[in-house]
């Protein structure tokens, strides 16, 4: 049986070049479908990657109870030291807990194309770099605590105007100079960072948005969480930083991803009709050949399999082509959506997705024609011209 399938398919593929343009319908159909879908998904995938890179399983974030975004959370000045004193937090070399009070707010920016947009300005306190060792300065210097200074991420610098060292950002009660450029490799790169306490004073605010802590080990989350949630004086939610960003990332990219899948699905339906059409034509073009094989004693099943295999081969070729185009056009390109700056991404998982879709389309589009091929009476097919 396997040998028969192999022989019939080999014969089939050898005649494929004779049906080149016909076969291209499937290849182009899938290439267009997958190219469009992965290009659209590169946005949500890139955003999710930027979020997930920012989350570290060795960190925990503390926000006010029930808040699922930092913007909705308020941690009072009185609560912050209580949180920092909880067990499970790693200590710096002076024995002080690595807990950092964060501030988080939107700032208007001018995009490079002249349109107005937003990014996030984040306040880090004295333990900022201790908690986030991935943050490093690539040009200029770090802001000094107590001073009205900002550092800008490399992503923000690439996407927005007036983000060079020496440029000034309008903040309440004055304009703050940018003194340095930082990189983190994650979504923070699209943001501006300054000193929490100085910002708080300038903004006339009395609450932080979150407290970020470095855990003694990823396993100490439970100890830390228990200490905070059982403390009657506090009303907070504790989440592992990686889980937090995974959730926020999924939430904020859900609709974008959905749009990509919906457009992809619509195109796939179009490609499916094209695939059916091509395979029916292929079966009728190969009528004589198939009938001869059947007359020689080859079974109906190997014939049917060879038809489906042809569809799969063409569809997968098209899908990989489309995925390659989407990858070449998008992957790694700096982009933004809303207040987020990130790199578009067409990942390995996306290629796998492309192949899966292609196989599904090919199966749906190949099975009916394959049944026709297998069922066609041999004598009739041999007589047909």
């Amino acid at each position: 049986m396997l040998r028969q399938i192999f022989v019939v398919s080999a014969l089939n593929f050898r005649s494929l070049m004779g049906r080149f343009w016909q076969s291209m319908v499937i290849v182009v159909g899938l290439a267009a479908t997958i190219g469009v879908m992965l290009s659209m998904l590169s946005l949500s995938t890139g955003m999710r990657e930027a979020y997930s890179k920012a989350g570290d399983p060795g960190r925990a974030i503390v926000v006010s109870k029930g808040a699922d975004q930092e913007g909705q959370s308020a941690i009072t000045r009185a609560d912050a030291p209580v949180i920092a004193d909880a067990p499970g937090i790693a200590k710096d070399k002076d024995g002080r807990p690595l807990a950092d009070r964060n501030l988080n707010m939107g700032v208007p920016v001018l995009r490079k194309d002249g349109s107005k947009g937003f990014t996030t300005m984040r306040g880090l306190a004295d333990k900022g770099q201790g908690v986030r060792p991935e943050l490093h300065i690539v040009a200029g210097r770090m802001f000094q605590s107590g001073k009205r200074e900002l550092v800008v991420g490399v992503g923000a610098q690439a996407m927005f105007q007036h983000m060079q060292i020496g440029d000034k950002v309008i903040l309440p009660n004055g304009q703050w100079p940018i003194v340095g450029v930082f990189a983190t490799g994650d979504l923070l790169e699209g943001q501006l960072i300054g000193d929490t306490e100085t910002m708080l004073a300038a903004l006339h605010k009395t609450t932080y948005n979150s407290v970020l802590v470095r855990l003694t080990s990823p396993n100490s989350l439970d100890t830390f969480k228990k200490a905070l949630t059982t403390n009657p004086a506090l009303s907070v939610t504790v989440e592992r930083h990686s889980d937090w960003y995974k959730r926020v990332g999924d939430q904020s990219t859900f609709v974008l991803a959905l749009l990509g899948y919906v457009v992809g699905a619509v195109m796939a339906v179009g490609a499916l009709f094209g695939c059916l059409n091509t395979m029916y034509a292929a079966v009728s073009a190969r009528g004589r050949e198939i009938a001869t094989l059947r007359a020689l004693g080859y079974g109906a099943f190997p014939v049917a399999v060879s038809v489906v295999l042809e569809a799969v081969l063409l569809a997968v070729t098209g899908a990989l082509l489309g995925a390659l185009i989407a990858w070449a056009l998008n992957d790694g390109k700096q982009s933004m959506f809303g207040a987020m700056v990130f790199h578009l991404s067409v990942s390995r998982a996306q290629f796998e997705l492309a192949v899966t879709w292609a196989v599904v389309v090919a199966l749906l589009g190949g099975i009916l024609p394959s049944i026709r091929a297998a069922r066609r009476p041999v004598v009739e097919a041999l007589r047909a011209t």
Binding site: A32, N277, F337, G338
Partner: protein
């Protein structure tokens, strides 16, 4: 038209191919209609956006003293300014997010095109009155006279409550710029409910300029005036805010045209192949037609018609289907994600017609060329 029976006979000769081609073309044009329609919807919004209406809000969130509104209204060149308070919250479950704009009576001047003046008067009569646009009324299943209750945990109230109760006093038409509809309540209701220290503050000031041509200068002037104050402002004209198909910083025009083009490219291969195959199969027949006196022109028309028929029918069906689907989009999108409803404007239909004809012409080009150059004698004898 007299060639139609011949063309029709050619198409129905292979019914499977005809139906599958038509279905594929229909799907591609559904996507085309939705994409170009979405783009058209953004264009309409940009067009209808008013150049004389300007929005300004505290650059760093929070609230500005209401004095800012008065200060702006007193500036030369400004017709009217209204101070707004945002009331964000939810109905019953945090998943059902709701948003009410709490406005003072100047809103009747600044937003006279959203809510007609007589309807504004109905709102001013009741402190807890609320006006809903149809979409919002539908979403919360409210009619005039109903009570609308929402929960807001982010705005501190003097009585520490979190429940806000309104009475629906009127329901008005939606406007295209606000995709999910809108709700307005009374500024006094929210302002007086806050602790004394928080009263007299606004989340945003919206105003009308006397001269639309000067509104961007006014916007820059306001940013400059408040830059060094306790509440620096961020000002933008409605025109600018709504122009450029702005969608989170993405270039919507490029994306929608790209997708529509990819769909067309896909069907071009399908229809092109179909027609080429059909001509190849009937090569001898075309030779016969030419022999009995059909001109090159007549044969060309027949092939182009055969190629155009599925494209045109598919385009009509596809755009029709897109129009039906577009109506469902606002219902399917989560309320937190706003996207306008694609409109099948005359321009969209023109684009679709042009695309259909282009696909038909490109598909027919090679077969037509072959037929024109055919050697009738060898074609008749079946040698080519």
């Amino acid at each position: 038209m007299r060639y139609l029976p011949l063309v029709w006979a050619a198409i129905v000769r292979k019914p499977t191919r005809a139906v599958l081609t038509l279905l594929s073309v229909t799907v591609a044009f559904t996507l085309f209609g939705l994409m170009i329609g979405l783009n058209a919807a953004f264009d309409t919004i940009a067009e209808r956006a008013r150049a004389d209406r300007v929005y300004t809000w505290p650059r760093y969130g929070g609230a500005a003293p209401i004095a800012v509104a008065h200060q702006i209204e007193a500036m030369p060149g400004i017709k009217a300014a209204t101070g707004l308070n945002f009331l964000p919250g939810y109905v019953q479950d945090p998943k059902n997010q709701a948003f009410v704009l709490m406005v003072d009576q100047n809103a009747a001047k600044v937003f006279g095109d959203w809510v007609p003046p007589d309807q504004w008067n109905v709102v001013w009569r009741e402190r807890t009155g609320i006006v809903m646009s149809r979409m919002q009324a539908q979403r919360w299943h409210k009619k005039v006279g109903d009570t609308f209750t929402m929960i807001c945990k982010t705005i501190k109230r003097a009585d520490d409550g979190t429940t806000w109760t309104f009475r629906v006093v009127t329901i008005v038409d939606d406007i295209p710029q606000i995709f999910n509809g809108f709700m307005f309540g009374n500024f006094d209701y929210i302002d007086k409910a806050k602790p004394l220290a928080d009263q007299g503050k606004v989340s945003e000031v919206d105003f009308l300029a006397d001269d639309p041509a000067k509104s961007s200068d006014l916007a820059a002037q306001i940013d400059h005036t408040f830059a060094n104050s306790a509440t620096p402002m961020q000002t933008i004209t409605e025109k600018l805010a709504r122009s450029g198909n702005d969608f989170g910083g993405l270039d919507i025009k490029k994306i929608t045209f790209g997708i529509a083009l990819a769909g067309m490219f896909m069907v071009l291969f399908l229809t092109g192949n179909g027609i080429a195959e059909s001509v190849r199969e009937r090569f001898a027949e075309f030779a016969t037609l030419k022999t009995i006196g059909f001109s090159d022109r007549a044969v060309t028309i027949m092939v182009v018609l055969e190629s155009a028929l599925p494209c045109v029918i598919g385009a009509v069906l596809g755009v029709g289907l897109a129009a039906v689907l577009a109506r469902q989009i606002p219902k399917l999108m989560p309320p937190t994600f706003s996207m306008p409803m694609p409109t099948m404007s005359p321009a969209v239909m023109l684009w679709a017609a042009a695309a259909a004809l282009a696909v038909a012409a490109l598909s027919a080009a090679l077969p037509v060329l072959r037929l024109r150059q055919m050697d009738i004698a060898s074609a008749l004898s079946g040698r080519s």
